[in-house]
């Protein structure tokens, strides 16, 4: 795991002092709200319906046990005892006081955390595969590159006032768990014909009110050239992205309007001027970062642990959790354990201070102090000995953290919606809770199989509804909450944007509508087909029929 050195620490300390001063200048009236707003946003401070909101960065979703415990401390000291993990692998607190936020940031700085790059029209926190460094299917660990991107993009002096926010995601595995095709820049690691590892560069994906799957501007960029290439893209975007209309300001619109060929031409032209400059990263330097993310001290184990097998036999609950939440590790005898933050009927992504502290402890005890946040709003202990899974599970279960539903219908992504968010047009959390309760029975969930439901409380699409197998968008229809259903979205390597099924549903109707869709899928699926596969085979009509009949 990357550890800060004195430079990183100094930078965060200076930033904390700077923001304390900015807050003081705002409170004294020296700064107007208009002048202060972008400054607070650049430190993760939003104003929501009920209070301020503080978004804390978890760069590429990786934390150590201390950091996780610190989040618990923040929840307890500066908030109301809980926090909300987001689809961008960050965490949000809903009740901090502006005059206390500088103290919270100072506490965070003691464990190398901050709120940098969590808001504003800058390059945001980079996201990646939550199983990086552990997944059996990865080409290479993406985190060294994410860390290099973090440094390059932190307070980039040229790119702090971009036309709009800018999100970069990286996957090191062919099975894309980072949704790279729906980011402003997606980087997909692969090998070229010469056998070198590099990145496919995908630009202009995004969700929000005009969703796009990104387009490839370059099939392969070598590791040494990655940063100059990113800088070239950003310079083109900073200069030519639209600034006349904030709804058209994302790079996806620029790519759409001028065409990917033209963007590619502009980027290559700019890149030619800077590629041999100081952003070229040497093999040596890359090696330094790879070393920082060296695998932990795994023991040499046999992959199969008899005790583990016995426990599964004896405890069907445990066996179910292993089947749904535990994933193959590249190291024999180890496994990746997913901690679901989607208890049946609970609030997706919320965790209490006690849960955060416990997960921090469990990370130290069972997973080499490594814990991850997923874009699906769950947590991961990436390096657990199979022989210790049972003990881990027992502790998680005691804390209400052992729901065995990863990837199933109740593993719902939901944004905060109108319960917290000032931009919302409808609530999303209560809907996710009702769907979760309706399908709470585990056997029923397993029968339904993998199904991704994603809910956003407005067109900004923070809940990724466009890429849900079933997406739900909350709208306001003459003062009433009202929900539009999309089908066929997918955030994986086969990314696609869902299609609107038809007229929306009232809050009272929508859970029945979801159930009708699922029942239809079960009736018509072929053996082994997931919901999304069936949808792709049969199209919209059979589903429309159950929603609307002859309407």
């Amino acid at each position: 795991m990357y550890r800060y050195d004195d430079f990183d620490r100094q930078l965060v300390a200076e930033r904390t002092t700077q923001f304390r001063d900015q807050v003081a200048r705002r409170l004294s009236g020296e700064l107007t709200e208009d002048q202060f707003k972008p400054l607070r946003l650049m430190n993760g401070v939003y104003l929501q319906l009920h209070a301020y909101m503080l978004r804390i960065a978890v760069p590429y979703g990786t934390m150590n046990g201390n950091q996780m415990r610190m989040l618990g401390h923040i929840a307890r000291t500066y908030d109301k005892g809980y926090g909300h993990f987001t689809t961008r692998q960050n965490i949000q607190f809903n009740w901090p006081k502006l005059n206390e936020i500088p103290d919270a940031l100072e506490d965070l700085a003691t464990v190398e955390m901050h709120a940098i790059q969590t808001s504003g029209n800058c390059i945001r926190n980079t996201t990646t595969d939550q199983y990086a460094g552990a997944a059996a299917d990865e080409i290479e660990d993406p985190r060294p590159y994410c860390e290099l991107i973090r440094q390059w993009s932190t307070f980039h002096p040229e790119f702090t006032y971009l036309p709009r926010k800018f999100k970069i995601a990286v996957t090191g595995s062919p099975n894309d768990r980072a949704a790279v095709r729906v980011h402003d820049i997606g980087l997909r690691m692969h090998k070229n014909d010469a056998g070198e590892t590099g990145f496919e560069v995908i630009v202009g994906g995004g969700l929000g009110r005009t969703p796009f799957v990104g387009k490839t501007v370059r099939d392969f960029i070598g590791k040494n050239d990655l940063f100059s290439y990113l800088e070239a893209i950003l310079r083109v975007y900073n200069r030519f992205g639209r600034r006349d209309n904030k709804y058209k300001a994302r790079i996806k619109i620029l790519v759409h309007e001028v065409g990917v060929e033209e963007i590619s031409r502009l980027v290559e032209e700019e890149w030619a001027k800077i590629k041999d400059g100081s952003l070229r990263v040497s093999d040596d330097e890359i090696a330094q970062y790879i070393a920082q993310f060296a695998p932990p001290a795994f023991e040499e184990l046999r992959d199969n642990d008899p005790e583990f097998e016995r426990r599964k036999q004896a405890h069907p609950d445990f066996a179910a959790w292993v089947r749904s939440n535990v994933i193959a590790h590249k190291q024999p005898g180890y496994a990746i354990a997913n901690i679901s933050l989607k208890p049946i009927g609970g609030i997706p992504g919320d965790a209490t201070a006690e849960q955060m502290e416990l997960v921090g402890d469990l990370a130290d005890q069972y997973s080499f102090g490594d814990v991850r946040v997923t874009h699906e709003q769950n947590l991961v202990l990436p390096h657990v000995k199979k022989a210790e899974l049972f003990a881990l599970w027992a502790e998680l279960k005691n804390a209400g953290l052992a729901t065995a539903n990863l990837g199933f219908v109740t593993d719902i992504i939901a944004c905060p919606g109108l319960d917290y968010c000032a931009l919302a047009t409808a609530r999303s959390i209560p809907l996710s809770q009702r769907i979760s309760e309706r399908f709470g029975d585990l056997d029923r969930q397993y029968d339904i199989g993998e199904l991704k439901i994603k809910i956003s409380g407005c067109i900004n699409a923070c809940g990724h509804h466009h890429v849900g197998h079933i997406g739900i968008l909350g709208l306001d229809k003459r003062g009433k909450e009202f929900y539009q259903i999309t089908l066929g979205g997918d955030a994986s390597q086969d990314a696609s944007i869902g299609k609107i099924a038809g007229a929306g549903f009232s809050e009272a109707e929508v859970v029945d509508a979801i159930e009708a869709l699922i029942t239809r899928y079960i009736d018509i699926r072929n053996v082994g087909e997931r919901f999304i596969d069936t949808y792709r085979r049969v199209g919209m009509d059979p589903f429309k029929e159950v929603l609307y009949g002859d309407r």
Binding site: L11, W152, P157, Y161, K273, E285
Partner: protein, 175 residues
Amino acid sequence: MAIVKNDSVIENDWVALDDEALVPESGANVLVSLARFKAERDALIARNGGLGVLLVPGDAPEDLADDIDRFSLIAVKFPSYTDGRGYSYGRVLREHYGYQGELRAVGDVLRDQILNMHRCGFDAYELADEADVALEKVRAALREMTVYYQPTGDGRVTAGSLRERRRAALELGGS
């Protein structure tokens, strides 16, 4: 209004010309729009007196490339501090074309953006404040941060290169 450059407040000895205004024969330093520069290039570079160009967002700094050494002032307008195009113009002028003259940020220039401007090659800032306030703001802004991750043309040493040096020193020491 005050212009701060090189840790002091300077006099503005430039006349900003409207596109219609008559160009003074000689002597005075004149600041013209990019459009006017392109239209009257030959006459403007033939006259005696300093020549400056004002770039506004949307202008192409490339248009100055061939004449870059003829300018002693390039002013870049930030109509609102949230319009960040000027930062790229600064870097393009300094780093692609090697511009050596004064690069002045004008418009909505606020304390909290000055460090970024400096890192992008600006060396003069026109603030709406009184002279002493402006000077204090620029000074405060420039000393707020001391660690820099990105190499830009401003010559500041980055964290990366400091790490590199440290490693080299350690290796020397070790062998």
